[in-house]
Amino acid sequence: MQKILTFIFSIRWQDILDIAFNSYILFRLYALFRGTDAFRVLIGIAFLWVLERMAVSMGLILTSWMIEGIIAVAALIVIVVFRNEIRSVFRARNIWTILWDLPQKQAKTPIDIITESVYELAQQHIGALIVLPGREDLEEVVQKGVPWDGKISSEMIKSIFWPNNPVHDGAAIIRGNRVAEVSAILPLSQRKDLPSVYGTRHRAAAGLAEMTDAMIIVVSEEKGTVTITHGTDLLNISSERDLKRVLKGHLGIREDQTRYLKKRRIEMYTAAVVSLLIICVVWFSISRGFDAIKTFDIPIEYADRNPKLELLTTSATSVRLYLRGSRALLSSIRPEQIRIRIDLSQAVSGTNTFAITHDHLSIPPGLTLKEVRPMVVDVTLDERSQKGFPAQADWAGKLPPRLILVRSIITPQKVELIGPRTILDSISTIYTAPILLNDITRTGKTDAKVVIPSAFLTMKPGSKDKVAVEYEVKER
């Protein structure tokens, strides 16, 4: 009981937000993709992931690697294969629908009018091709026809396919209670097993059915028969009643709509609860299983230093943190996700001592700090100052023995440096880079770069990093 209470009180508001947010994302994915093939494959991938975690926990290295590979490939395949389905989910709805609303039911397709019209066309031996899209987007498969956007009526359907109508060739696409497009060109099926009696119209219907989840009604001009294509099936429908039943099944129209809506609401509530449970389990397994301690060597960031002060030395450039948390969470943490920041805004010139506390740390949620070493850091700051130093040539090599180097004059005589006062005070002279004597045969002049003796020092802005060295030599 005590443990449960401790656990409940240890839950932070960030944890609740974390669970709620991810549960909602999972629920929305279900709401948007339910019923699609992509969703079924995603369930399969999730199952594989569970298997992979089990294989890891049991120490089945090869199996876990193999499943991991399959998951990676499967995820890629889902995106490629179901791109139309995924796109139609996101494109058909506005952002509000994606984030909040349950998928809106489309305007009810008037099945009675369609079936009646289809059989009238069949009786009159007028060929027709009517497409009833499913969830998938047809744009990539169907060659765009003539936009129509007319409310469905028996007369309209019959007139569209009337042989003298310029748009009677091709397919009419129905969305909701409207004819969206007419004269659309469908892809022909390449199947070899289609009966020879089926002409181009049937092949086009079969082609689209194979590539999408649409249902296509074909009215044969020669025989006056009605055929339905869906998936790889081609069904001859002999009666209006059968056609109605098949279309209702495809469009998801139920006789008892109230009951259906109630059932769907229960389904959504169940999905929401299951999403919450799944995320709780995942969250608990990741962030609450205190079963490991890991060390991280993290560089210290010294921030907000007074610009007049220079950071001279620190007793430590990094600290070793001992973090406690679940093994899964610890193994997923990268050192870049952990920060140690010491605020130097109140630091003064000289040595400042800081005890490293939680206030200096930024660690991912779910982890706790067990120990930190060193616990104290000394930071030495110094005032920035400017000082001029006499420059001196650093001669190197060998002057020809007959010659004497009598004097040298350096211009400018002084080199101005900026840096911490302590360092500036420890220097008396700035030397040039070595100037080779071997080639000197007479009095002359050369340029030499000055060597700045400390990384903390810089040249005064605008001053050159070279000096001119005039030298005088004499014969012995």
Partner: protein, 149 residues
Amino acid sequence: MKTQQSHTSIGFLIAAILLILSLSARAQENDAARPLPPETTASLTLVRAIMCEGIKEFEPQTETILFSATLGEAVCFTAFDPVPEKTEIYHNWFKRDVPDAKFKLTLKPPKWASFSRIRLRNSDSGPWRVDITDANGRILQTLRFSVTE
């Protein structure tokens, strides 16, 4: 009785004023009689400071700012004129800003020349300087030179 006391006080006051005036006049006489301080007439003055390869008959030989370690030694020669009183100066030798040797040299009036020398080794290669300072540590001059192999 009261008048007598008043006369006594006035007399004492006049006597005090006369005494003060008399002491002040003597002090002025002493200032005027004292000789000028040496600083105004002749302070310790460095008239020559050079680096050379050796000393011969109290004269520096082969003035240079470059010494080969094979030469064996480097000499810092300084001459002062005047030297008002017996004093000490220092030759502070630095190799790349690091103190290497310090020589205390005694100067005697009226003028004096003195020198210091160091032995050179191959490891002495690099830039050097000699700070010539007086007894108070005031730098009179800095000589810069290099030692090569």
